[in-house]
């Protein structure tokens, strides 16, 4: 089975700092992949590099059979890969509705856009209720839902979620994890960067653990739960 996303020896460099030092990973259609690791391990840099937000200084990214290494960020939504960025980054001065509209910006097919609206409002009734409200006035949990909803508006095949549960109340965190499994049932493949390791491994099929810009461990979620490498990666040992 060929992978939906295949990354080979990806490197990311910011000036003199090498954030990602040559990693390989594969994501197959229908999977939930957890990308784990301590702060500064290079998880966010990896996701950003996948969608062209961070410069890949080496390596190759192949999505759905196409080499997309070095493509501009605006190309990825129409290819079917979208990132919901760390810290939500909703457009605070735009209404909820306008935020979602921007999520569908790259879509030309009107019927597909209509279906996307229905799907997002179905998943998040609260967004429909508050569609006229400025996104900046939503609570943290609602903003996270909006960020995910906005990413879903482009009908992605692969959705990258960067720290979707960060800073949210436990109850909301549970909702977010439940949402991830619901999305998978709807046919979305997901790669999730998470600091909540135990919950991430509960829903994920496979995981990668990063430490200092490298993959320190990988395997099925069950394997990783039992592995000592995971703990070592968080403690900073290699």
């Amino acid at each position: 089975m060929s992978a939906l996303l295949s990354v080979q020896s990806l490197q990311v460099q910011y000036g003199a700092v090498q954030a990602v030092r040559g990693i390989d990973l594969d994501v197959h259609e229908g999977e939930i992949i957890a990308l784990l690791g301590a702060n500064g391990a290079g998880k966010s840099s990896t996701l950003n590099a996948l969608v062209g937000l961070a410069p890949a200084s080496g390596g190759k990214i192949v999505f759905s059979g196409q080499d997309v290494t070095g493509s501009a960020p605006e190309r990825f939504t129409s290819l079917g890969m979208t990132l919901s960025p760390e810290g939500r980054r909703v457009f605070g001065t735009l209404s909820v509705q306008e935020n979602l509209l921007m999520g569908a910006y790259s879509m030309r097919d009107k019927a597909a856009v209509k279906a996307a609206w229905e799907r997002v409002f179905d998943l998040f009734p609260i967004l429909q209720e508050r569609r006229e409200q400025f996104a900046g006035t939503l609570s943290g949990g609602q903003q996270q839902m909006l960020a995910v909803g906005r990413a879903l508006m482009s009908n992605p095949r692969l959705l990258l979620l960067d720290e979707p549960s960060l800073g949210l109340a436990p109850k909301i965190v549970e909702q977010i994890f439940e949402l991830i499994t619901v999305l998978r049932k709807q046919g979305v493949t997901l790669m999730v960067v998470e600091q909540n390791v135990s919950m991430a491994l509960e829903i994920a099929d496979r995981g990668y653990v990063m430490a200092s810009g490298r993959i320190a461990a990988s395997g099925t979620a069950a394997e990783l739960r039992d592995s000592e490498t995971l703990q070592a990666a968080y403690l900073g040992a290699e």
Partner: protein, 297 residues
């Protein structure tokens, strides 16, 4: 009382022109962080088109359209040739680039057209005036105010309801995330330049209608004022630019009307002191830019 009303009308007319120019500056600044000092030359280009059309006997209504179209085209070309290569450079690099563009254009005007001021044929109706009770209002003032209102409504609609307008607001707040949504950076930036050229073209028509002449440095003073207005309103904020433009217009006109004759020489410094006073109390301007707020959180 009549004098006061009269001056208020003048203030609206002048402030409206400043507001249109400041809006153009704010649009470009909010999307790419560039303070475009060559904005004034867009006005001058539109002014010369009006002059040429007058000489060629083109009907005024049609020459207005040509002048505005020329300003839009010049703005887009300017972005493509001069600013796209330095798009990711620092603000200082872009600012210096805009000075260079401004100066190159001024020199071209001086050498290929004339260093001296040229007369522009303006329909006589514009220099007539209308009497409202005790008020005598120039037709050109009425036209300026009406145009400003129409333009502000149009822009408000565009930024609120058109997908490119919404995309421009999104990009002004968070450019990277806007690109993630599939909003092309080139579309947003070229769009901002085209709109700023449109506004500069309209402002030029209003400016020239009051003066009936054009010279190579015509755009400099109004754009400097518009820049002050944009800062007064909150740099990068569109509503702020409008508020700042009107406030500056009011300050200038009332000072011209009510300052004692002996102090008229100090009108501009006094106006600037008032601007500084406002900024002391509202350092980010009257209506701060949303991007500014986002950075602080």
């Amino acid at each position: 009382m009549d004098l006061f009303l009269q001056q208020t009308v003048n203030a609206f007319a002048l402030g409206g022109t400043y507001a249109l120019l400041a809006l153009g500056l704010a649009m470009v600044f909010s999307t790419m962080g560039l303070i475009n000092f060559a904005h004034g030359e867009l006005m001058t280009i539109a002014g010369y088109i009006l002059m040429a059309c007058g000489l060629a006997g083109v009907p005024f209504a049609f020459s207005i359209l040509l002048a505005i179209a020329a300003a839009v085209l010049a703005a887009v070309v300017m972005e493509r040739i001069a600013f796209r290569p330095v798009r990711n450079a620092s603000g200082a690099t872009m600012l210096v680039t805009s000075f260079a563009v401004s100066m190159i254009l001024q020199v071209l005007f001086q050498n290929f057209i004339s260093a001296r001021s040229q007369a522009v044929l303006v329909p006589e109706i514009l220099s007539e005036s209308v009497r409202f009770g005790g008020l005598v209002i120039g037709v050109n003032k009425i036209a300026a105010i009406a145009t400003t209102i129409v333009m502000l409504i149009f822009l408000d609609r565009f930024m609120k309801h058109h997908r490119i307008g919404i995309a421009m607001r999104a990009a002004a707040e968070d450019f990277s995330v806007a690109r993630l949504m599939g909003i092309r950076a080139n579309t947003v930036i070229a769009g901002a330049f085209a709109l700023s050229g449109f506004l500069a073209g309209v402002a030029a028509v209003l400016w020239v209608s009051q003066r009936a002449s054009v010279d190579p440095l015509m755009g400099f003073t109004p754009v400097l004022k518009a820049f002050i207005a944009a800062i007064l309103g909150g740099l990068g904020s569109l509503r702020g630019a409008v508020a700042g433009g009107f406030l500056l217009g009011f300050i200038e006109i009332y000072l011209a009307a009510y300052l004692p004759a002996g102090m008229q020489e100090f009108r501009d410094p006094i106006a600037l002191c008032l601007v500084v006073l406002v900024l002391i109390f509202r350092p980010n301007g009257l209506i701060p830019s949303p991007a500014l707020k986002a950075e602080k959180v």
